[in-house]
Amino acid sequence: MSKLLIDVGSTYFKTSSSEGVAQAFRDFSMTIFDDLSHKFANKIAAYKKEDIYICSSANGGLSTLIIGLTNSFSLKYAKNIAFNSGINIIDTVLVHELQTSVAPTQLLDVVIVVGGIDSVGGIYDTKLISYLAKLRYSNIVYVGNTQDVPFLRSHVEALVVLENIIDNKLKVREEALKEYLTNLYQQDIVGKEDIKQLYAITANQIFSTPYIVNRSLPFIGTKFAVVDPFIVVDIGGATTDIHYSRDLVRDNIVSENGFDRLVFKKLGVYKSRESLVFAAKSNEFVYEMLNYLNVTENILEEQSEKATKILMLLSIFLVLYKVSSYKPAYVTLNLERLNALVFTGGITKVLSQDEVLSIVHFFYKKVLNTNTIPTIVLDHNYDIWTLGMHQ
């Protein structure tokens, strides 16, 4: 009854079977299908289509712009749901800034419009329509008050209307929007021609990797000595993901799923190396950190195993920094309360426990001013991913 699990990442493949885990760098000169069938030919031949499960994070990620009424409610709720569904937020705009704010020029995968409880109306008018005319987008979804629906339906083409994400008690109601965005993300990843070809080797549905990882979080305790609250940091080739328990956020957002996810699209070690280096160089702690690691700034320009290690350590630091209260961004996690910090993804194959420990120590000491750090767990065997695939 054994299964073969395959993950298609943006830089490498990994497989898990009864013989253990294996990984191989991708060859971008051929299609994913050819590359995979070539590298794991024997393995794939040894399993029936029904026993092969595939997930992918290759070239993933949708972009969104959110238009909302206030920072504390409509925008906050929508941002939270978008992050949770793995969508990258390009920008947010408040209704009262619609006329003055500059519209982003890039093509957006989805625009989210939200605002008001159902007993409030007249929030959206022609100002929104003029603003939308300046945007380029593929999908638009409205999740605000019901009273504005007729106006919007008659003025916005192809508008998808879902249940208001703000209920009549001003609490978040996330299911409908989350399902819509997750499907969009899923369609984007598995709809790519490259991925569709993989149905030749599997009879099972192909999922997106972040979805699989998120699904395994409630069961993580069965594999590791991890105590809530914890976060899982997945440092990959193109993006860095952080999955965290809701308990760590100050917001009183009440919801079903106890875990949220945040994607840092530009903090990958390979594919987005340049932007990672850029982010590192503009960080106020970087020189102290390089000094602490006994290297100079030049290492950032090098192409060596050592340089890769340093970049991975930098990305750990930057991710923690970005979600700490020191640098309030979209989401601030209460890292002081953290019991465990779990690392997964490519870095677990490159960094040692000690190296990770030392950078986390540096972060807690420098940024949070404390010598107590959470338990560090390295998911060397991709157990989290395997767990999610088996669920």
């Binding site: 009424l69 206030t70 920072n71 504390s72 409610f73 409509s74 009262h96 605002g115 008001g116 409880i117 007993s119 409030v120 703000i166 008690k169 001003l170 009183n252």
Partner: protein
């Protein structure tokens, strides 16, 4: 104002965790026929204002028990004009200063911050009666 059900946003401002009065306020307002949006303890001024906007509330009723409201409410006037909340009634009550203080000193100060009604160490029902009279007065005007 029409005679539709009035909406009230309430909560405890700043880093203040005294929750008992907040629960009482929620229950009392509902008993008096208001639609209540209770943001609970530890609520910042921006969150109050944002809640008023999202719900199109008629009244914002802030309470403060630990005495630190002053520091949290100084920006009210600014936010009030930024969002054009002219018609909203702003009310604050509880312990509005740290230690001993006189109402004669406190009330004008909070009125200058933009509150319409200020209740320093005044019993809840008395406060809510005054609020109702105030609202009635507005309608007749």
């Amino acid at each position: 104002m029409t005679d539709r059900i009035k909406k009230v946003v309430t909560g405890v401002v700043g880093n203040d965790i005294h929750v008992v009065a907040n629960r009482l306020i929620d229950i009392s307002l509902q008993a008096r026929g208001y639609e209540v949006f209770n943001l609970g303890v530890n609520t910042y001024l921006e969150e109050f204002i944002d809640a008023v906007i999202e719900t199109d509330a008629d009244i914002l009723l802030i309470s403060s028990l630990n005495g630190e409201a002053e520091g949290w409410c100084r920006d009210l006037q600014f936010l009030r004009s930024e969002y054009q909340l002219k018609d909203v009634v702003f009310v604050i009550g509880g312990n509005l200063a740290v230690g001993e203080a006189k109402c004669e000193d406190i009330v004008p100060k909070y009125k200058a911050y933009g509150f319409d009604l200020v209740f320093h160490q005044i019993d809840l029902n008395t406060g809510l009666d005054t609020l109702e009279a105030f609202m009635q007065d507005r309608i007749t005007k």
